[in-house]
Subunit: 210 residues, 2 copies
């Protein structure tokens, strides 16, 4: 399973085994609802979800909860945090189902003399960089002022990445509204206006750009 993990891509099973055994990993199982990492923690470990699922959430100053990421099997977390070295975690990671996590110590990985560690660092750079760009795209959208421009930019982005003018997104209205930084009702209102204007067609989370 780890062979498919974004962190170990390009390595064969033996090498992965080797690295896991020599860098001092640990495996922890959490009950549903249990906190895996607290907002504010300064972690040095990269976590890999082996079984179950978890979410990364964050609380604003106003106290409202925001779901920052959904961690399913074989997803990793804490990589950017470990990489930044000394930053406080902006999110709380909480088990949704019963959940087993493999922790790899980043420092040990860094100072291991494995020639394979190089490959892992490369994978880590690629992963963090890609996260950076996704965030960057979202920022570009959040900076826009009107709801319509946000929707347009978002939909064209989705069309580009899914390779067609007819596509299904993997968010419901509420998540989409959160992503665009607008009210759900305002989003619905503007979507129906755009449909009336003949710009788009949609049903639920399937969209067509006309």
């Amino acid at each position: 399973m780890l062979k498919e993990n974004i962190l170990f891509k390009g390595l064969d099973t033996d090498r992965i085994q080797q690295i896991i055994h020599t860098t001092g990993t640990r495996e922890v199982t959490y009950a549903p609802g249990e906190i895996i990492m607290h907002q504010g923690d300064v972690a040095q470990d990269i976590g890999i979800v082996l079984q179950g699922s978890a979410i990364g959430k964050k609380y604003t100053r106003a106290g409202e909860e925001i779901i920052a990421s959904v961690l399913t099997e074989n997803k990793i977390f804490g990589d950017v945090l470990s990489g930044a070295d000394g930053f406080a975690s902006p999110v709380t990671v909480q088990a949704v189902t019963k959940c087993t996590v493999l922790f790899i110590n980043y420092k040990n990985l860094l100072y291991s003399s494995h020639p394979q560690a190089h490959k892992i660092l490369q994978n880590m750079i690629r992963n963090i960089s890609m996260k950076y760009f996704v965030q960057n795209k979202r920022m570009e959208i959040l900076m826009l002022k009107s709801v319509r421009s946000k929707i347009t930019t978002y939909l064209e982005w989705q069309a580009d990445s899914k390779g067609g003018r007819s596509f299904t997104i993997d968010m419901d209205r509420q998540l989409m509204a959160d992503f665009l930084g607008v009210e759900r009702s305002a989003l619905s209102r503007e979507l129906s206006r755009m449909k009336k204007d003949g710009l788009i067609d949609y049903h639920k989370n399937h969209f067509v750009i006309l």
Copy 2:
């Protein structure tokens, strides 16, 4: 000078020389206004500004220009882009003054057998991760709905990172407004309201949280 570069921190001059000579770097000088990298380019090189200064800018769908970063001496660019491997550059990099740039090929760096390359990758990870978090903080602010909450969150963040309730920021009003994703006039209006309400005091770009 490169010893102080974020990419080479922790390495001594000899090692840096060695790496530069064996990984095939190239040095290019640009005239003021000349384009160093185009939006949409797929680059594999990390650029280091040796002399002069440049800016990274980006154009929205609406055609307005956004300054994404200011590149002074010894700053690097293209690191996230190289790291992501295959992504198109979201920004155009343009020389402001006459400008000399050292390009390092990322692939060569990856496949170099230098033990020092490891250290550079670590530095690169730290740099990209930190950029990620700064972006993350900005996103958190951009998602807020009222101008006042944006200002409050921003100022407390600055107070935290500068270690005091009285501090100077390195942006003028226009840049600050862009950063918060609001109109300059709306920002000024809300700032003066907050002063009247006794929450803050300020003059130009110096702020005090009361």
